[in-house]
C-alpha cells in the first residue's frame, strides 16, 4: 500500500503514523508539506494528529484551508482513501470532507487515556479487519473531541452506516453525541476518528488492537 502523510505546522503525531504505516505496509509513506499543492500517486492519504496552527480560531480550522487540502479533496473525489486521526479528524470536518464538528470536550479537560471502542460498521475498507460489534482498546489524547452535528445530519449518518466507531463501556470521555468516536463520508472512502489506532500496533505499545484498521486497508488495496 502506497501512502502519504500530510504535515502541517503543529502536527506532532506524524512520526507515530509514519512508523505505523512503514511497519504495517512495508513501505515508508511519502511526506507532504501543507504548502504543497500535489500529492504523489498513493492509495491512502493520512492527516495525522497534533495541534496544527496551535488550534487557533478552532481546532483544524486554519489547516483545513491550507493549499494541500484541494489535493486531498481531489484524492477523495477520485475514490482514494483518506484517514484523519485526532487533529486530522478535526481538519477533515472543517474542510467539509466529513459531516459534523469536534467541539471542546464537555469536561473542558484535555483527556489522555485509553478508551474502548465498538466497531459499528465493518463493511468498509477501513474497518473490515474487525468484526461488527467488536470492542477494541484505543488510546485518546485530545481537548476538542466532542462530536456534534444537527439532528438531521445525525440521523442521516446513523441511517447511512457512516458511524465507524462509538466509545463503549462508559468511555465517552468528551460528550460526543451518540458516543460517536469516528465517522465516514457518505462514500466510505474517508474516515476520521479521535482515537489513535497508530499508537496500539505492537506489543511494545501494550497491544495491537489498532492493527485491524491498517490491515483492512492493506487488504482493500492488494
Amino acid at each position: 500500500m502506497k501512502s502519504a502523510v500530510i504535515v502541517f505546522p503543529g502536527s506532532n503525531r506524524d512520526h507515530d503514523m509514519i512508523v505505523a504505516l512503514t511497519k504495517l505496509s512495508g513501505q515508508a509513506p511519502e511526506i507532504v508539506w501543507h504548502k504543497d499543492t500535489a500529492i504523489p500517486d498513493v492509495d491512502l492519504v493520512v492527516i495525522p494528529g497534533g495541534f496544527s496552527y496551535g488550534d487557533y480560531l478552532r481546532a483544524g480550522a486554519i489547516a483545513a484551508r491550507s493549499p494541500i487540502m484541494d489535493a486531498v479533496r481531489d484524492h477523495a473525489a477520485k475514490g482514494g482513501y483518506v484517514l484523519g486521526v485526532c487533529n486530522g479528524f478535526q481538519i477533515l470536518t472543517e474542510a467539509g470532507l466529513l459531516p459534523g464538528v469536534l467541539m471542546r470536550n464537555a469536561s473542558l479537560k484535555f483527556v489522555c487515556r485509553e478508551v474502548k471502542l465498538e466497531v459499528i460498521n465493518n463493511q468498509t475498507p477501513f474497518t473490515s479487519g474487525y468484526e461488527a460489534g467488536q470492542i477494541i482498546r484505543c488510546p485518546v489524547a485530545h481537548h476538542d473531541g466532542n462530536y456534534f452535528t444537527d439532528a438531521e445530519t445525525l440521523k442521516s449518518i446513523e441511517d447511512n452506516g457512516q458511524v465507524a466507531f462509538r466509545y463503549a463501556e462508559g468511555t465517552n470521555i468528551n460528550g460526543s453525541l451518540n458516543d460517536i468516536a469516528g465517522v465516514f463520508n457518505a462514500e466510505k472512502n474517508v474516515l476520521g476518528l479521535m482515537p489513535h489506532p497508530e499508537n496500539l500496533i505492537e506489543s511494545a505499545h501494550g497491544g495491537v488492537d489498532g492493527q485491524g484498521l491498517f490491515n483492512g486497508l492493506l487488504k482493500a488495496v492488494a
Binding site: 480560531l57 478552532r58 480550522a61 486554519i62 484551508r65 472543517e94 459534523g100 464538528v101 467541539m103 471542546r104 470536550n105 464537555a106 469536561s107 473542558l108 466532542n146 456534534f148 452535528t149 444537527d150 460528550g175
Partner: protein, 80 residues
C-alpha cells in the same frame, strides 16, 4: 473601513465554556446570573470604501473561515 464580526454558538449547541464562566460568576457572588454563552469578536480593517462590497467580502470571510456554520452564527457591523 472597519468591521466587527461577532461569532456566537447557535442556540441548542452545548456551551460548556459558557457554563463554566457562568458558574465562576456565581461563585464570585454575582446574583441573578442566568445562562452564559461565550463567543468571539473579530475587528477587521478593510481596504474598501463601498459598503455593499465590504459586506459581501465580510460575509464570504465568515462563511469560509471565521465561523463554522454547523454550530455558529455570525453578525457583521461596519463603520468608517
Amino acid at each position: 473601513m472597519k468591521a466587527r464580526v461577532t461569532v456566537t454558538l447557535k442556540s441548542g449547541v452545548l456551551d460548556p465554556q459558557g457554563q463554566a464562566i457562568g458558574g465562576s460568576l456565581k461563585s464570585l457572588g454575582f446574583d441573578g446570573v442566568g445562562a452564559v454563552r461565550q463567543g468571539k469578536i473579530f475587528d477587521i480593517e478593510l481596504d474598501e470604501t463601498d459598503l455593499s462590497q465590504a459586506r459581501s467580502k465580510l460575509t464570504a470571510m465568515c462563511e469560509k473561515l471565521l465561523a463554522n456554520t454547523v454550530i455558529e452564527n455570525y453578525t457583521i457591523e461596519t463603520s468608517h
